[in-house]
């Protein structure tokens, strides 16, 4: 039986970690646990959840800054932000539905610990770009802080940002402070139907090269598009390529017109209004295109220039359904269940194109065997191991979660 510990204060977490360290034991670190199915299963006699470290500690709408304890659900944060006409600009994804975990539960700490960014990353930056400070406890059971509550801060090393994407393997965040942004007055989405992948990526890149501040670019293959429910475009068996424009109303109208004109070689798009746009991009955030199933799901980060070629290469080895976000720089690959998750081929394709692949969904037996995060070049791996030593020399935090034997 695994112990579930729920510290309610920094000092309580500190004493728990100190005790675990003294016992030379290990601990799995979670928020709400919605992303536990990503990564190697952690073998540890105890789990620490940050869920009791809860509450918004700072909100200054006039400074576009919010602070919250790590276990605060982002649903609570987004409600609070919306009440003042603001939002999390990096639009974190909700992996729940894709991983058979509950939707809408993830915590703000986990968003930063996994550097979870959605479609607006392409224009607004990622979760890590928005983090400006944190408090936490490292694997040495030391309470520390980094950064602060101001937007611009280069005092000392950027430890806070350095901990984003470390999946609880270096330190446990207890409080995070981050930048927020105003909600746009209006949103429009242009949806082009039936484009092949290479043209779709070209279209998205062209759109990103205009001055119209396109804030979302995705391409769904027919099979994934068929899972989208938004009226006007939903449940149609054809590939869809969507571009989002957000700003004040007059500007959205103007930019939409200019964009359609600039891209007219690609045909006439379907136009989604504010409400339909919220619906469609909401479905993208919940990963409605890849609902939970036995299929394997990979997340590949690469240069948009190389993306269609990377997918074409893989198709020679396996059936692939590919949804492209970030104008092609982020690819969600859905492939049929198999014992090695197609890892060797996916990783080779990513390495050739430049970039990396993360296994997001697979049966536990598969995740136990396959490297979930991209194996690193020796020089980089030495630094990663060193960094783990710096923060968690005994290796008590989430052992093996990111890399085997680390």
């Amino acid at each position: 039986m695994t112990d579930l510990l729920r510290p309610a204060a920094d000092w309580e977490l500190k004493s728990m970690l100190a005790q675990i360290g003294e016992q030379n034991a290990a601990v799995e670190i979670i928020g709400a646990g919605t992303k536990r199915a990503i990564g190697h299963p952690v073998q540890a006699p105890a789990i620490i959840s940050t869920a009791s470290l809860r509450g918004i500690t700072l909100y200054e709408p006039t400074e576009l800054v919010m602070g919250a304890r790590a276990g605060t659900p982002i649903s609570q944060i987004e409600v609070e932000l919306a009440s003042r006409g603001q939002m999390l600009p990096f639009e974190p994804l909700d992996f729940g539905p894709a991983l058979a975990a509950p939707a809408g539960m993830q915590t703000i700490g986990a968003v930063f610990a996994t550097n979870n960014s959605g479609s607006r990353r392409i224009s607004a930056g990622s979760a890590r770009d928005h983090l400006i400070g944190l408090r936490g406890v490292n694997g040495r059971a030391e309470i520390f802080k980094s950064g602060g509550r101001v937007m611009k801060n280069v005092t000392g090393y950027d430890v806070a940002r350095g901990l984003t994407g470390s999946w609880g393997t270096l330190a446990v965040m207890t409080e995070v402070t981050f930048k927020v942004a105003p909600l746009p007055d209006d949103i429009a989405t242009l949806v082009y139907a039936g484009l092949p992948e290479d043209l779709a990526v070209e279209l998205m890149s062209l759109a990103m090269g205009t001055p119209f501040e396109v804030s979302g670019t995705v391409h769904l293959p027919a099979k994934h598009a068929a899972r989208i429910m938004t009226p006007q475009i939903g449940s149609r068996n054809t590939p869809l390529t969507a571009l989002r424009i957000e700003n004040f109303m007059k500007s959205v109208r103007y930019r939409k017109g200019r964009l359609i004109e600039a891209l007219k070689a690609c045909g006439q798009p379907v136009e989604l209004d504010l409400e339909a746009s919220l619906g469609f991009w909401g479905e993208m955030r919940r990963m409605a295109f890849a609902p939970h199933s036995d299929d394997i799901l990979w997340r590949v980060s690469t240069s948009p220039r190389k993306a269609p070629e990377l997918v074409a290469t893989l198709r020679r080895h396996m059936p692939v359904e590919a949804t492209y976000d970030w104008s092609g720089g982020l690819i969600w690959l859905e492939i049929p269940d198999c014992a090695d998750a197609g890892a060797a081929d996916v990783r080779r394709a990513a390495a050739i194109a430049g970039g990396h692949a993360t296994l997001i969904r697979a049966r536990e037996a598969v995740r136990r065997e396959v490297d979930v995060f991209q194996p690193q070049a020796p020089a980089l791996e030495r630094l990663s191991r060193g960094l783990k030593q710096v923060f968690d020399p005994q290796g008590i935090l989430n052992p093996g979660r990111m890399y085997q034997a680390m």
């Binding site: 200054e60 006039t62 400074e63 576009l64 800054v65 006409g85 960014s117 930056g125 770009d129 030391e142 520390f144 802080k145 980094s146 602060g148 509550r149 101001v150 937007m151 611009k152 801060n153 280069v154 005092t155 000392g156 090393y157 950027d158 430890v159 940002r161 350095g162 984003t164 994407g165 470390s166 105003p182 070209e202 890149s205 990103m208 090269g209 205009t210 001055p211 007059k250 103007y254 980060s301 240069s303 220039r305 720089g329 982020l330 970039g355 995060f373 991209q374 690193q376 020089a379 980089l380 030495r382 630094l383 990663s384 191991r385 060193g386 960094l387 030593q389 710096v390 020399p393 990111m402």
Partner: protein
């Protein structure tokens, strides 16, 4: 000025100078090594000119391999290294030491690739900030971070200091715009981190390297994001009779849901000097002036500036002037960007760089003038109001030792004030030697130790950019402690 302590040089190294120079010439070639006194003098200081020190020698490598060989040699010989871009640091970040060599990256300044599909530029790190936008400009793209020294400063220096600029309110600072680096560590290893893709794999080492003030390694190449140029941009000037009203105006603009590309603030002394210099049409009868810039098409700009003017009107501004044309816009920005230089013609100054929460602006500006008055010194304020990054310029006479000392003390008091209201010591200039001894005002011993362990991971013997960032006391013992995990120990 001499109140910032610098460590005694290692005489064993200084005495071997001739042999070291000979070795460096053998490694890097005679054309890459500057050993004569006149040549070295050009490197004895940076833009924090109160402190000077002649380096042992200067090496200007032309390739990553050469940097790797020189660093590896320095590690074997225990020779300290001061990395240098263009030497525009305002905090002594590039100040040499007598027992250290300077490695300058200025010869590595080529553009390697501009890719408008991936929207990246791959460049050698010695390229100047403005040259990246210059190279990308032909395709309609630009590199966003724009420090005032962008004509001279290098990307390598920007990466070391995580530099900002006037337009980072909208576009972010250096760390938000760099996707990949090629880093040479002190043991001569070449590490590739990130690339043309938007998120680097594994731990976010890039976050640690950017802003580490050259203490973790030397960046020789980088992949940066480039963005499409806006259709147009136009600033407006809003003058107020009080700084309080100006800061309320800034808050109201941001709370209204508009994030302009820039909101700059000048107080009366700064306005007077900059207007005399740039003839930008700044109003001279106001105590506080905001420069607010928005981007878009002509109609979008007119709409947004009109909206902002409406917000400002509610506060009874002394003047609202919307730039009429390109020429006026250029003058408005010329005045702002040359503020430091223009004030420098009037007096010597120390430029502070603390950041504060915007809600504290009025209080902090009042306190800054009180502090400077207490020390009998003048002060001008010109800074990035949108993100609370202050730049009080403390004016003094550098030939008067007592005034110099008082200026440093006033600066320290101002930075303590910034931290006490929830801000930080430095928003974009870096710690260098200037703010090194104030680090404990902002950080606990544990916080600092956490950072110093990272330093030891990359550079176990603490050879890179010594005597910067961390207080001198409390670290020699730490630096000497053997075998914290090190990349050198394979």
């Amino acid at each position: 000025m001499s109140s910032i302590a610098l460590p005694q040089p290692d005489t064993a190294i200084v005495d071997r100078r001739d042999a070291i120079v000979k070795d460096l010439i053998a490694i890097a070639g005679p054309g890459a090594v500057i050993a004569d006194e006149d040549g070295r003098r050009a490197y004895e200081t940076d833009a924090f000119t109160a402190y000077k020190c002649m380096p042992l020698a200067v090496v200007l490598p032309d390739s990553t391999d050469c940097v790797a060989k020189v660093l590896s040699y320095c590690q074997r010989q225990g020779i300290k290294v001061v990395p240098r871009g263009a030497g525009t640091s305002l905090c002594g970040g590039a100040l040499p030491a007598e027992d250290a060599i300077v490695i300058g990256v200025s010869k590595m300044n080529k553009v390697l690739e501009i890719d408008t599909v991936a929207r990246i530029a791959r460049v050698e790190a010695g390229i100047t900030n403005l040259a990246i936008s210059g190279a990308a400009g032909a395709t309609g793209f630009f590199y966003a971070p724009d420090p005032s020294s962008q004509l001279a400063c290098t990307l390598a220096g920007n990466i070391a200091m995580n530099s900002g600029g006037a337009h980072c309110l909208k576009y972010g600072v250096t760390t938000n715009n760099v996707l990949g680096v090629k880093l040479v560590t002190i043991d001569g290893s070449i590490v590739e981190i990130g690339g043309a893709h938007l998120d680097a794999e594994g731990y976010d080492l890039m976050a640690l390297i950017i802003g580490s003030e050259g203490q973790l390694g030397i960046v020789t190449e980088a992949t940066v994001r480039i963005l499409p140029q806006a259709e147009g941009a136009r600033p407006m000037l809003i003058g107020f009779e009080s700084t309080a009203k100006a800061s309320i105006c800034v808050s109201r603009i941001i709370a209204s849901g508009i994030v302009p590309v820039a909101i700059e603030f000048m107080d009366r002394p700064a306005i007077e000097v900059c207007e005399a210099f740039a003839k930008a049409g700044y109003p001279l009868d106001v105590d506080a002036l905001l420069i607010v810039e928005v981007e878009g098409s002509d109609e979008e700009i007119a709409d947004r500036l009109g909206y902002i003017a409406g917000l400002a009107q509610e506060l009874g501004p002394s003047s609202v002037i919307i730039s009429a044309d390109e020429a006026q816009s250029a003058k408005i920005w010329k005045g702002r960007k040359s503020a430091f230089g223009a004030i420098g013609r009037k007096a010597d100054y120390l430029c502070m760089d603390g950041t504060i929460p915007l809600s504290q602006l009025t209080y902090v500006l009042e306190e800054i003038s009180n502090i400077c008055r207490r020390y009998g010194l003048g002060v001008a304020n010109v800074f990035h109001a949108g993100d609370g990054n202050l730049h009080p310029l403390i004016m003094y006479d550098a030939n008067d030792a007592r005034q110099s000392e008082r200026a440093e003390q006033a600066g320290a008091d101002i930075l303590r004030l910034c931290v006490s209201v929830g801000g930080c010591l430095t928003g974009e200039h870096g710690v260098g030697i200037e703010k090194r001894d104030l680090m404990r005002v902002q950080f606990s011993e544990t916080d600092l130790m956490q950072q110093m362990r990272i330093k030891s991971l990359f550079d176990p013997a603490w050879l890179l950019n010594p005597a910067k960032v961390f207080p001198l006391d409390g670290r020699p013992e730490f630096a000497a402690r053997p075998a914290e995990p090190s990349i050198a120990a394979e």
